[in-house]
């Protein structure tokens, strides 16, 4: 399915009209260090948006501001139409979040983890039961429903964590390096999950440092030293920088940075 089609589906399913996320001059300082430096971007509903950058470029700080874990020092942003400074409660109900670190509980079973997050997001027991069945079917985990999550292989855990982040059918899902440490086949399957979520109208905001994954995104931004150095579709960026791959674009941009050169 093309990006344009997905956007059309998103509009039909009633996702936020206009932009799912918009950021204007969003800035975060820690003392004199500027982690995120006046970034501005718009993300359309139903888009898969790749948020790229080297380690320490400010990706996680930016995500934390958008999901309400960190207050911005300057600038403004809206998520699902709500102001990140004043409407955090509304934002929380409308987003899913998968952090860099594995966020399910190893000492709970697959089913219990789903029930927990379903409960936290205010689903009724019927909704939870129904979505648990669907989710387990989709993931092929039906026979493992009562296994402790700690015993699942890492790839399964990551896919489960992603599905759990979507259990309340949020308008937007934030994925902070969701495929770290996962084998290529599982990464592939993971991206299939991302696409099917996008096809249902969910906006996907994903950070990664696998450049091949960047090619799967509708649009990407590349952060260097807290600033957005490039923004556009993968094809546009490759043309603009005369590069063969997003990887090339990335290396060229990162080399200009004192930190990137050192890395």
């Amino acid at each position: 399915m093309s990006a344009a089609n997905r956007v059309a589906v998103a509009v039909k399913t009633g996702a936020a009209d206009g932009f799912a996320i918009d950021a204007r001059e969003l800035t975060r300082r820690f003392g004199s260090f500027v982690a995120v430096d006046h970034i501005t971007f718009d993300i359309k509903a139903g888009e898969v948006f790749g948020f790229l950058g080297a380690n320490g470029a400010g990706k996680t700080t930016a995500i934390k501001m958008l999901v309400g874990l960190l207050a911005p020092s300057e600038g403004a942003a809206h998520v699902a139409g709500f102001d990140i400074r004043t409407q955090r409660d509304q934002i929380r109900r409308n987003i899913g979040y998968m952090s860099q670190r594995f966020s399910l509980y190893g000492d709970l079973t697959v089913r219990e983890n789903i029930r927990l997050y379903g409960g936290i997001y205010g689903l009724t027991p019927e909704q939870i039961a129904e979505r648990t069945t669907t989710m387990l079917d989709t993931l092929g985990l039906s026979s493992n429903a009562d296994d402790l999550v700690a015993r699942l292989p890492l790839g399964w855990k990551q896919k489960l964590a992603f599905s759990v982040a979507l259990v309340h059918q949020p308008k937007i899902v934030f994925l902070d390096e969701p495929t770290g440490g996962v084998d290529p086949i599982t990464r592939r399957q993971f991206w299939e999950l991302i696409y099917s979520a996008a096809a249902r109208g969910t906006t996907v905001f994903v950070t990664t440092h696998y450049m091949d994954e960047a090619e799967y995104c509708d649009r990407i931004s590349i952060m260097v030293d807290g600033k957005i150095a490039a923004l556009g579709t993968p094809v546009e960026l490759k043309e603009k920088f005369g590069a063969d791959s997003v990887d090339d674009v990335f290396v060229r941009l990162a080399r200009g940075s004192p930190k990137g050169a050192a890395a």
Binding site: V67, G68, L69, L70, A71, D89, R92, R93, I95, Y97, M98, S99, Q100, R101, F102, S103, L104, Y105, D107, L108, E112, R115, L116, Y117, G118, G119, I120, Y121, G122
Partner: protein, 369 residues
């Protein structure tokens, strides 16, 4: 508060606690083991008690009593004197544990209308051992008195007691309330701190903070299951104390349980605060030990009486929650008093609970990082 979300969260916490079998076993057994260990340690069988006897007019009665002391195989007479001035130096040197001071003409008083008098002076620098000395001494005198009484008529021996170096009479029974305080702090503060900082360390807390759960709901959800566990611990400690050591319970059980909950809330809030201010499980555990276990054990009057602390240290004990709880628990259990006497301590604990909860919740605001 969103009750469904909270329930989902509490269920999760319950699973965490119930599935960690090893920790759970330790937590549940702890009050039992501690009551028994402390109980026997404090009741250590005292032998070779050094007895000083002051007998101005030796007669058949005083000699008979002395021989009874010796025949128990617990007492050893280190000196017999006619004047009491030998006692002070003996105690100072630590060469006597108990001194028995008979009044002049003890035997004739036994036959007369006035009671016969004997003064028992005990070295109570270790209050618990001192109490044991005193109890043995009294028992021997009482049995002698009973035997004489059976023969013809009621004989009265009046004992007068001096606890030297520590006039406040501490008893073995006093340790149970202190123990409850210690176990509660251990279960609530330490375990909450560990469990919360584990979520922090593993990154699950971040996900919870992004969810619609409010920080206060996370805290309440964390704290509720431990409150239940702490409750079970109080009951175990009380049962063990009653069954094994026959520690009396004179006051209202309900009141004690209510006060225990109040004290547990204080401890839980401390645990939350510790978790909020530390960045790893290990740091949380050590900090929790440092700020809760140690002061609660050492500065609360549980082991060392507050009265015998140096003047500069006494004010410090005011901020130790266990200090207040121990006064309350001892009052209820041993004296049988109620809120009319203990309202001040209860008020202090309530204030601490409110203050700490407020601070704990503030420090848990997701944007603090």
């Amino acid at each position: 508060m969103n009750l469904n979300a909270l329930r989902a969260f509490v269920v999760k916490e319950r699973h965490h606690i119930l599935r960690d079998r090893q920790t759970l076993t330790i937590l549940l057994m702890m009050p039992l083991v501690q009551v028994i260990l402390f109980g026997y340690a404090l009741r250590s069988d005292v032998r070779d008690i050094r007895l000083a006897v002051v007998d101005p007019t030796p007669d058949h009665a005083t000699i008979e009593l002395e021989s009874r002391f010796i025949s128990t195989n617990r007492f050893r007479i280190v000196t017999t004197s006619k004047t009491p001035d030998v006692i002070e130096p003996l105690f100072r040197r630590g060469s006597a544990d108990v001194a028995l001071v008979f009044e002049p003409d003890f035997a004739s008083h036994l036959r007369g209308a006035d009671p016969a008098r004997v003064l028992i002076a005990v070295d109570a620098s270790d209050p618990n051992t001192g109490t044991t000395y005193l109890n043995y001494t009294r028992a021997i005198i009482a049995s002698y008195q009973d035997e004489l009484s059976v023969a013809n008529r009621r004989v009265r021996i009046v004992t007068d007691t001096r606890m030297r170096f520590n006039p406040t009479l501490e008893s073995v029974n006093l340790f149970v309330p202190g123990l409850i305080a210690l176990v509660l702090v251990l279960v609530s503060a330490l375990m909450t701190a560990i469990s919360l900082s584990r979520e922090k360390e593993r990154g699950t807390l971040e996900v919870l903070l992004v969810s619609p759960l409010r920080p206060q709901e996370i805290i309440v959800g964390k704290v509720l299951p431990y409150l239940a566990l702490a409750f079970a611990n109080v009951l175990t400690a009380l049962l063990a104390a009653w069954a094994v050591f026959h520690v009396p319970f004179r006051g209202s059980v309900a009141l004690l349980l209510a006060e225990s909950i109040l004290y547990t809330i204080v401890s839980l809030a401390l645990g939350v605060l510790v978790a909020a201010r530390t960045s790893s499980q290990r740091a949380a555990m050590l900090t929790a030990m440092l700020v809760t276990m140690l002061p609660n054990a050492l500065l609360s009057g549980m082991i060392f009486p507050v009265a015998s602390m140096p003047a500069w240290l006494k004010p410090v004990t005011y901020i130790v929650p266990a200090r207040w709880f121990i006064v309350i628990a001892r009052g209820i259990m041993l004296k049988g008093v109620g809120l009319t006497i203990l309202w001040q301590e209860t008020l202090v604990l309530s204030f601490m609970a409110l203050l700490l909860l407020a601070v704990a919740m503030r420090s848990f605001k997701p944007r603090m990082e």
